[in-house]
Symmetry: C2
Subunit: 433 residues, 2 copies
């Protein structure tokens, strides 16, 4: 990816960051980069994620999925980091694959029933992903899906791939039934696992080019260096951090390609769960160009000065001409294509924020393909790790979600937890119809 931070400069926007401040910040970036390099070299928890382009073996993943290579539908059962990286890749490249990739990342019973209804399960494969093998949502959904396969008379053991840790219920299950299985790599938090088996099994079933994904990531890794002015990923991370310090507590991620909508969701988890701690962290907002120009642009341009808007320009798109109308008022459309219109809207929206002094950054891809996606995912992960160093938070933990997990378990009779008791003590002030 390339990054253009011109519209985040103090000469353009408020909040903005001056060139002098960027120079000063670059000293911190140099120190942070040393820390990151050390973490990578020592395969430390979290930092190890940045080694994945070298560590991941695409041949092993392809071999594991071979038994279900014929699948017309792939149901990936996972939640959070166990789903979003994979979904980002298969959604971005959906037009290139004959396999439909579906993600069961919620436990809504009506929705699950609808997804399973009228589906030919003989042609469906299951990809269940949970490091611990005990994630309540994932296991519940897996049990429901397994049951549906049994009811349909389809042997689920022929159609299931497991990605999990070294031990735990899913590992035991996989051993018992001799299922093809892959390992969630050590030291890699879920939200940083897109470039491991966690993110690549689905891509492999959909026959995407795993080598190109990893190569694109590796090329991005090559740019990591001690200066934000030489590394697009660090330029992004440092600029986002600097703007947050100056009042832009919100980061709206706006890709200008429908196929990158899931990428914005992946980014939102990466950014929120990594940096949202110690009362710090930018709040990610996922949006979509051009759709959200008709929804969020008014606020971005004229609301509080608390936002960085990050545009992702997808580069060249397959195109489609706009037929002529014969209507005078619309004649200007008739000479154009949909891609021209999309590009003009992107440039116009970017300029409209700059004209209103609202900071924005452009992330540029050269198309939406495996190589570029690998670079984008790796680049944003590196940006996030850098930002974590600048905030001085523990980027790779997510302690605040434990409370609700215990409360849930307690509420369902899975043990004695004081958190579950707190639920009953809710303060009420109800206004009823």
């Amino acid at each position: 990816m390339n990054v253009d931070i011109g519209n985040a400069l103090a000469s353009v926007a408020s909040p903005g960051v001056s060139r002098e401040s960027l120079e000063r910040l670059d000293d911190q970036v140099g120190d942070a980069h040393e820390r990151i390099e050390r973490g990578m070299a020592d395969a430390e928890h979290g930092y190890e994620a940045l080694n994945l382009p070298q560590r991941t073996d695409p041949t092993e993943i392809r071999a594991a999925v071979e038994p279900v290579a014929d699948a017309e539908t792939l149901l990936t059962i996972g939640i959070g980091g166990s789903a979003l990286g994979a979904a980002t890749i298969t959604d971005a490249l959906a037009a290139e694959s004959d396999t439909e990739a579906i993600y069961l990342d919620n436990v809504d019973p009506a929705w699950i029933s609808q997804l399973l209804e009228n589906r030919s399960l003989e042609n469906t494969a299951i990809n269940v992903v949970s490091r611990s093998g005990t994630t309540a949502e994932t296991l519940a959904n897996f049990l429901v899906v397994r049951d549906a396969f049994e009811s349909a008379g389809v042997d689920w053991t022929d159609r299931t791939i497991v990605t999990t840790g070294e031990s735990g219920p899913l590992r035991n299950l996989s051993d018992r039934h001799d299922l093809p299985s892959l390992q969630v790599p050590d030291g890699v938090p879920g939200r940083f696992s897109a470039l491991s088996a966690v993110g690549l099994v689905a891509a492999a079933v959909c026959e995407h080019d795993l080598e190109a994904l990893l190569d694109g990531a590796a090329a991005e890794a090559e740019t990591l260096s001690g200066s934000l002015f030489e590394c697009p990923a660090y330029a992004y991370g440092a600029t986002a951090y600097a703007l947050d310090q100056r009042g832009a507590g919100i980061n709206a991620m706006v890709p200008y390609a429908e196929s990158l909508e899931t990428y914005a969701e992946w980014f939102a988890q990466l950014w929120a769960e990594s940096l949202g701690k110690d009362d710090l962290g930018q709040t990610p907002v996922r949006a979509l160009g051009v759709t959200d120009q008709h929804s969020q642009l008014q606020l971005y341009r004229a609301g509080p000065r608390d936002k960085l808007v990050t545009f992702v320009s997808p580069g060249e798109l397959a195109d489609r001409p706009i037929p002529d109308t014969g209507v005078d008022e619309l004649a200007y459309l008739g000479d154009s294509t949909l891609a021209d219109l999309l590009e003009a809207e992107f440039e116009a929206t970017e300029a409209s924020l700059a004209a209103a002094g609202r900071p924005n950054v452009r992330v540029e891809l050269e198309g939406v393909d495996e190589y570029e996606l690998g670079g984008l995912l790796y680049g944003m992960e590196a940006a996030c790790v850098l930002a974590g160093e600048l905030y001085a938070v523990n980027t790779f933990e997510q302690p605040a979600v434990e409370w609700a997990k215990k409360a849930t378990r307690g509420l369902l009779g899975g043990g004695d937890f004081e958190e579950a008791d707190a639920v009953a003590e809710k303060t009420e002030l109800r206004i009823e119809r």
Copy 2:
């Protein structure tokens, strides 16, 4: 809808609003309600939206869609308020309909091509929606779709319904071809038009109960009164406003039903475009329970104290038991259903925010059906109008989006606009791979 603001009280959360402050704020609510009532009585621009439950004629809408009642797929071509209200309804109720409702609300050529490819256009109907009849994205998509119908040898004039204003290119087209057409009501901005033909044509084609939608909205209208303590909609609007004033500049909308995901998008437009002006307005964030517990909860619980989290509890759901595993660690799931799990996760997440002193509000539905949806849409519109009065902004305009529209037009050769010139003058600071 019912609303519980207990977890937004200062005794629970920080920022929070004390009971005394709520009492004081209630005086402002009384004044604002008088203003709103006057606007409704005089059918003033914008306020007129709150009269829709009485004004909208479901019989007229059903008659208009009769020629395409057999459609297996409905392509609605519209953007922003011309799509999101309709999509909220048909997505929420998708399980009840045999007609698939698809929304063309972006101009991405690859995506459009994929949507049209392999689709049987004989069984497809078109619903094109634009008040002005000149919205660039909508007209471009309509021209592309019309062309695809012609290429497939299907007469688009037999399969198209138009919803537009009194005049303009779409009105002319509809007159020329004698298409079934409906009118975007006067005085109703797009984002407030869900309960007019704009939102209900798609619902009618999908055979949802329009009367129940309007009845639910009318019941919500009955609650509008001079006190937030007697009106759920005003309680919500006033609490969100008060929390914003106290530092919660972000409003995360989190429905706990997959079918309400689009509702969160609709809300995001309503809130952003109505209140985001004069450097004011809360930034809406769309999220989804339980999925986003594994993505955003860490930030919501431990990040900056700048958020209100709004939960939507869907009430009773169709259910599905979780089969037993035989695994000790997961035994607690085997006695439960997916709905039990969803409910426990909802209560646990709500309590986990309260335990961390983070303000949240619960909006309660009694199921996801037409009546409840009508109430939810109307309630949130009334909440937004009230908040607009409290902020003293012009709730019903969106002037900040004009700049980019002019620039787009200029860039495509549709006239001389200085905004287009500004695009070329972009400040660059590029960091390349």
